[in-house]
């Protein structure tokens, strides 16, 4: 293990464990008002009239007419209204906000408001959508030829559902005007995203807006774009009231009306000739919900990963993110990749069965290695450690032997084991880092020789405060206690880009390492010194072209192999997870405890996605699973034997050899779990979540 991988006490340990850390709802400001949103009760309608009750003194209503800038939230495409215009596009769309000094009175007013809707027929099923938000296609080789020459074409469709981030702290922000400026603070991942959105909505210059991240109780992608929307609403309210306004979502509101993982349908046509896979023709459909938010980029990542870790010479990949009158989907750990990785791993498994092989045999035959070409005709520039990972998994689980053994089972309890192999492309898709983000980071040495890190990336639980400080302290050769970092405040930190895409440590951590190297050379005791570093694309990268999806979509990849073992009670369909093993390569771990914690947490989230996290809407478009009693996430007893091991595979261009980590562990859990269920049930399966209800259907089919 490298020195830097040794674990130390986290910078934020103390305040969080003793309860003194202040999250947004813990802040109370003088004269502060409370806001609650009125959400649309219809999936698609024109608003013909809003009847307001008489308001007590000090209470006010905020709506589209109070938006002093543009009534659209700046995300990628500016289509999300700050407050609904005259129409609503999904159940939950914010129409107005009631604001006042007493939360309970605000609530009462909210219930007295009558909205008169002229209902229209909503589009709820993504297959019947008439609006395509994004449509991408790319090819490699000659797919038509591969299909024409095939002796056999496998066709199958795979389905994945919503996943709710279920961060424990719900969405919440406070906005307050001060000296002609607007400050917004609270729970978020990306302060500079919020910054431009607020300036655009209240119609002022960037210099008149300040965004401060408060201690944030988890994000997982759910606090990437959504806080920009809420911030615009709260800032407009604070401007109108000319007082601080706080909005904290309750759990049901958060589950029903904030973004979640895109449900998907992926159809794979796989050409086989002489027992060889000669091509994959892949069509992917994502349900975006009512507005575009981040769907363009989520879809891009999903498509780039569509052929998994396999060398497929002829490839045609197309996909659409379509509009429906349901809650807008957005970022979630893995960002489009869990959907397509599920599909490709399952189709490989099903093809293997047809060929009389175990899926691992087939997968091993096609998996890529260093120097191979990627789906987008880029290159895997670095070592691909899949063979060592498979070997390690087999040592840990006895996968190969068990897999065979479980094929012939009788009796009430039946076991199964499944395996997945996958990657996560580190950082922004394509040339986003170079062309759009252009990250800047700073470090400042104070006269007392302490060093402050100035970056816009937020510690949302992934340990960034600690790992950033370790990199800087270690590079400077000074004590870790001498280096500190506060939560980002856009008045104080440069724009080092958002906390997303497994980029913070690899990309911004790299800038900090460079800055620290420079400071070390120029160090002057007792003087204040500031060093600034700007992003430079590594020179080995083959430039990415988004038009035809060609080049390196990512500079490098994190790799992993997962295995999951289950036991199914064939009488009740209840399933126990006997073990879950993950081998992860995230380059050099900057602090082993932190990385293992990330892997374990992400892996368990993935197992939840695979097995129990069921969310759907009814025929009116209302999300039915809107509480922790309806939407079940794993507890401490669900996967008692969960093992995460790290494989040290340094990335030459990352700080201390580190690369992207946060998203990887979620990506491969679903195919490993569902393959295990197949092994136990002796059937081909094609959906996640795969719940006990689904298992019961299969069992009843088998038994009758």
């Amino acid at each position: 293990m490298e020195n830097i991988s040794g674990s130390i006490k986290k910078k934020d340990h103390e305040a969080k464990i003793n309860g003194s850390a202040l999250y947004v709802d813990d802040h109370v400001m003088g004269g502060m008002l409370y806001g609650r949103l009125l959400h649309s009760a219809k999936a698609k309608a024109r608003i013909t009239k809003i009847i307001l009750p008489e308001l007590p003194e000090g209470y006010l209503i905020v709506d589209k007419n109070d938006v002093t800038g543009v009534n659209r939230v700046a995300i990628i495409i500016h289509d999300t209204p700050v407050y609904a215009d005259d129409a609503v596009e999904y159940i939950g769309e914010p129409i107005l906000m009631v604001v006042g000094p007493d939360n309970q009175v605000v609530e009462k007013i909210l219930h007295k408001i009558v909205v008169v809707y002229e209902e229209q027929i909503p589009v709820l099923d993504m297959l019947t959508s008439d609006t395509v938000f994004f449509d991408y296609k790319y090819t490699k080789g000659d797919m038509d030829k591969a299909l024409a020459e095939a002796d056999r074409v496998f066709i199958e469709t795979f389905q994945t559902g919503y996943q709710e981030q279920a961060y424990l702290e719900t969405q919440g922000l406070i906005a307050y005007p001060q000296d002609g400026r607007m400050t917004v603070r609270g729970s978020m991942q990306c302060p500079y995203y919020v910054h431009s959105a607020v300036a655009n909505a209240i119609g002022c210059e960037g210099k008149d807006v300040q965004i401060i991240q408060d201690v944030t109780g988890g994000g997982f992608g759910g606090k990437e774009a959504f806080p920009s929307i809420l911030a615009c609403q709260v800032a407009v309210a604070a401007k109108k009231a000319n007082k601080p306004v706080k909005v904290i979502f309750n759990r049901r509101e958060d589950m029903e009306f904030t973004s979640k993982r895109h449900p998907s349908l992926s159809t794979y046509k796989v050409a086989i000739k002489n027992g060889e896979i000669t091509g994959m023709d892949i069509d992917v459909l994502f349900n975006s919900g009512a507005y575009t938010t981040l769907s363009a980029v989520v879809l891009q990542r999903g498509l780039i990963c569509a052929n998994g870790v396999y060398r497929i010479d002829n490839l045609r990949v197309g996909g659409r993110a379509v509009k429906t009158n349901t809650v807008p989907c957005g970022a979630y750990r893995g960002f489009g990749a869990p959907q397509t990785f599920f599909a490709v791993e399952m189709i490989m498994d099903h093809i293997a069965k047809e060929m009389g092989l175990d899926s691992l045999e087939l997968k091993e035959k096609y998996m890529v290695k260093q120097g191979d070409s990627t789906s987008t005709s880029g290159k895997y520039h670095f070592h691909v450690p899949l063979p060592e990972m498979i070997q390690r998994i087999d040592e840990l689980t006895d996968y190969r032997a068990k897999r065979k053994q479980y094929q012939q089972q009788i009796g009430r309890y039946r076991k199964g084991i499944g395996l997945s192999m996958f990657f996560h492309g580190c950082g922004f898709t394509g040339s986003g880092e170079r062309d759009i983000i252009k990250a800047v980071a700073k470090i400042r040495k104070n006269p007392d020789n302490t060093v402050e890190i100035l970056a816009s990336n937020s510690d949302i639980g992934q340990g960034l405060k600690t790992t950033f400080c370790k990199i800087v302290a270690d590079t400077l050769g000074i004590s870790y206690d001498q280096v500190y970092i506060d939560n980002p405040d856009t008045d104080r930190v440069p724009d080092s880009g958002p906390t997303v895409a497994s980029r913070s440590l690899m990309t911004v951590g790299g800038l900090l390492q460079r800055a620290a190297e420079k400071l070390k050379k120029e160090w002057q005791d007792g003087k204040e010194q500031v060093i600034e570093e700007h992003f430079v694309e590594p020179d080995f990268v083959i430039p990415f072209n988004l038009k035809n999806f060609s080049g390196d979509a990512y500079p490098t990849y994190s790799w992993s192999v997962n295995a999951i073992e289950v036991e199914v009670d064939t009488l009740t369909a209840m399933t126990k997870i006997l073990g879950a093993w993950g081998i992860f390569d995230v380059g050099v771990p900057i602090d082993m405890n932190i990385v293992v914690g990330q892997m374990e947490g992400g892996f368990l989230q993935g197992i939840g996605y695979a097995s129990m996290e069921q969310m759907d809407y009814n025929d009116k478009g209302i999300i039915r699973n809107n509480s922790f009693s309806d939407y079940i996430i794993p507890t401490a007893v669900d996967v008692p034997n969960l093992v995460a091991e790290m494989m040290n595979n340094p990335y030459t261009h990352g700080p201390y050899g580190a690369k992207g980590a946060g998203e990887l562990p979620l990506v491969g859990a679903a195919p490993a779990y569902v393959e295990a269920m197949e092994n136990a049930l002796g059937a081909n399966l094609n959906k996640v979540p795969f719940t006990p209800e689904d298992a019961m259907k299969i069992l009843q089919g088998v038994n009758t």
Partner: protein
């Protein structure tokens, strides 16, 4: 009518109505912001407090029930020697991630160990199964509790 109870070893009196939630009163009237609200429906455990020696979800407790009771929140518990042992063990495995579940987890840890100073892994898992954590995958928390059980010999 005042509601009298003992909060973190001090006698206090609240003007709250009998049907208000203990969670809200602790946070607003007594500034115990270490008690977190994750769901207000008794499902997540972020609002855990120790009431007369038992771990309860304070969002599910009406103030009327609290008359004459003893309530311990993280604000009181953090002054104890037992907390210090848990603090050290949680730190040694870096169990804290976003931290939102942590005050509740720490109080759950205390209740597990107070009942059984040498719990098995399964007992620990059972003991924290009413407290959701979306970040950690629970392994580090389970480990932290068993380290505290070993290292804090005699404390529980």
């Amino acid at each position: 009518m005042m509601i009298n109870f003992i909060l973190n070893d001090q006698k206090v009196a609240s003007t709250a109505k009998a049907n208000e939630r203990l969670l809200d009163i602790l946070r607003t009237e007594f500034a115990c912001t270490g008690v977190k609200c994750g769901c207000k429906e008794g499902e997540c455990g972020a609002c855990s407090v120790i009431l007369d020696g038992r771990l309860v979800n304070s969002c599910m407790v009406a103030m009327g029930h609290v008359e004459g009771c003893t309530v311990m929140t993280i604000e009181g518990y953090r002054k104890t020697e037992r907390f210090a042992a848990l603090d050290t063990s949680y730190a040694s495995v870096s169990a804290v991630q976003c931290g939102f579940c942590m005050p509740g987890m720490v109080l759950a840890s205390e209740c597990i160990l107070a009942k059984n100073p040498n719990p098995t892994e399964a007992e620990i898992r059972e003991g924290i199964s009413g407290n959701l954590c979306r970040c950690t995958g629970y392994n580090a928390i389970v480990q932290a509790i068993s380290i505290a059980a070993k290292e804090g010999e005699g404390l529980w």
